[in-house]
């Protein structure tokens, strides 16, 4: 079963939920898909033992063959090629590797080379097989790294996916194919506004979902009222407590410090599993 953790708004507690849930279960595969800013391993502390680079293909122009006709730059909708009177420039960060430039080149001057855009790391901690992706600094596109991570999914395990914030392509790539999605929010106007956007995304993808309210006690009751009106189950409330904030700031998982949370996360998982089987 694949459970993904998403949010819309950043900093609501996705990683808190994903890591604590994982530490409360057996036979877990944890995948940190927030490849721009991965934080889960600060809490899980898996020793990284394997690494592989993620490549994308980008065009290479043979300047002996190129006659600067400009057909490739005209075709490229991503503006990854620019032709000036006696030169051609390639902007690898903008390239989506569609292959169009090679197809339209009348001189057959274009070939492909591999470029590293990030890496996938793997390690183990306890009963958790841990994976995370890292987008290289300065790279635009997180998708190839997330795709490489998603190829690691082992459905025989309890797969926990920590998604990036937002509602666009990296989130969709991360959570699609999930059996269940947990949306983490906070009871504030920003939290509610972005929760609504996240709900639109999971409904669009037809994924069953529920909500966790983090920092419960700050703000107002509007998130709860919204969930009630929309028939969205509230799976858990994590109260606003100095102790919890402090553990988080030190990179210590809640379940490792306060054992009652272990049982609460397990119970929540059990409830989700029963719901998914139905």
């Amino acid at each position: 079963m694949i459970i993904s953790i998403a949010s819309g708004k950043g900093g609501t507690g996705k990683t808190t939920v994903a890591t604590n849930l994982s530490l409360s279960l057996d036979n877990v595969q944890f995948i940190d898909c927030d490849v721009e800013e991965p934080n889960a391993n600060i809490f899980l502390k898996a020793k990284i033992t394997e690494q592989e680079n993620v490549f994308v293909s980008i065009p290479e122009v043979d300047k002996n063959k190129c006659d600067y006709c400009g057909k490739c730059s005209e075709f490229c909708v991503y503006n990854a090629l620019a032709v000036v009177p006696s030169n051609i420039l390639v902007f690898p960060e903008l390239c989506h590797s569609c292959g169009g430039c090679e197809l339209v080149c009348p001189q057959e001057a274009i070939s492909w080379k591999e470029k590293i855009v990030g890496k996938v790391e793997h390690g183990r901690v306890g009963d958790i097989a841990f994976y995370q992706g890292l987008l290289n600094v300065g790279e635009m596109q997180a998708i190839p790294v997330i795709k490489a991570l998603k190829r690691k999914v082992d459905k025989s395990k309890n797969v926990i996916i920590d998604a990036p914030p937002g509602t666009s392509c990296p989130v969709i790539e991360s959570i699609s194919d999930s059996d269940y999605c947990i949306l983490v929010t906070e009871p504030t106007p920003f939290g509610l506004h972005d929760l609504k956007l996240a709900v639109e995304v999971v409904r669009h993808l037809n994924i069953t979902f529920g909500v966790i309210i983090n920092r419960d006690g700050i703000g107002d009751k509007k998130v709860e009222i919204y969930c009630k009106n929309e028939n969205i189950p509230i799976l858990m409330k994590i109260p606003e407590r100095k102790k919890i904030a402090n553990l988080y700031s030190e990179g210590i998982a809640l379940v490792n410090a306060v054992s009652e949370w272990h049982e609460m996360f397990y119970q929540m998982f059990d409830q989700i599993r029963k719901g998914v089987r139905k």
């Binding site: 990683t15 721009e36 075709f75 590797s97």
Partner: protein, 287 residues
């Protein structure tokens, strides 16, 4: 005209609350919300929308079933697996490159504009604002960020504003890069948690990569003073100025609920801290 982008790497550190506070302090600025994925600045600034423009992100392939001869050339050529063997276009996977339309021998495929969202030009009680909305499950948020930034620049020129304050998205990828290229300075809002420190290091690398001067604000510095000291030491070691250390204050949420900036809502230590920080930033921007 100067441009300042507020970013963080990690989400939820307080970018938008701080941007809203700056909006109420700046005398002659245009506000731009470049977190087009999950825009929140409008919840405080309450913009009065003057102009709405459609946004077309990437194109999408459209197959004319009557013409299609099922040769499968498009299926074989698509690098995004956006066409299945029955020649259905998978909307979520199509990146609009146009290769399928090019290889189709009987011109059965055309590339259509996709309605991906809207960009807006608005008035607020603090001045003009450029913002946007990306539709559910649409791509090209980087392109929409560029639209918002261009709208903000036009507003600044038309209304003779000397500053654009940009609320940026979390992360380090495409929309973040689109939010910070070519600006005069980035303010990175961090907090004293190990996660935020990790993300601060990465976003500082991004700023350096694009050669943009960066300054740092430690928000909620008092929730873990040891970690705040670590951030201060680290920034000192790489010559990055910390322009503000703001205390944790429940007023931030209260102000948000009242749809006001922290500056409008209260006048405690937090508001003082932001005012002092703003004065420093103004000076740095003029330098």
């Amino acid at each position: 005209m100067k441009q300042l982008t507020v970013i963080s790497g990690k989400g939820g550190t307080g970018k938008t609350s701080i941007t809203a506070a700056f909006a109420s302090l700046a005398k002659n600025a245009v506000l731009a919300d470049c977190d087009v994925d999950a825009a929140d600045l409008h919840l405080i600034l309450k913009p009065d929308i003057k102009k709405t423009m459609g946004f077309h992100g990437l194109n999408i392939a459209d197959v004319d079933r009557d013409k299609c001869i099922d040769c499968k050339k498009c299926f074989e050529s698509c690098r995004f697996n956006a066409i299945d063997e029955e020649i259905n276009i998978i909307k979520g996977s199509c990146e609009g490159c146009g290769v399928c339309a090019y290889v189709c021998p009987i011109d059965a495929i055309s590339m259509k504009e996709r309605d991906s969202g809207f960009s807006y030009i608005s008035d607020t009680r603090f001045g003009p604002m450029a913002h946007a909305m990306l539709k559910t499950a649409e791509e090209a948020s980087g392109k929409l960020v560029t639209v918002v930034r261009n709208n903000a620049k036009t507003l600044a020129i038309e209304q003779k504003k000397d500053l654009i304050i940009i609320d940026g998205p979390p992360g380090i990828g495409c929309p973040v890069i689109a939010s910070l290229t070519g600006v005069d300075m980035v303010l990175i809002v961090t907090e004293p948690t190990l996660s935020a420190i990790h993300d601060l290091e990465r976003i500082l690398d991004v700023a350096k990569h694009f050669d943009i001067p960066a300054i740092v604000c430690i928000n909620k510095y008092d929730i873990n003073k040891e970690n705040s000291e670590k951030i201060e030491k680290y920034c000192k070691s790489i010559n990055i100025e910390i322009v503000g250390k703001l205390p944790y204050d429940t007023m931030v949420t209260e102000a948000m609920i009242h749809e006001q900036s922290v500056i409008e809502f209260s006048d405690g230590d937090l508001a003082d801290g932001i005012i002092k920080m703003w004065d420093k930033i103004k000076k740095r921007l003029i330098e």
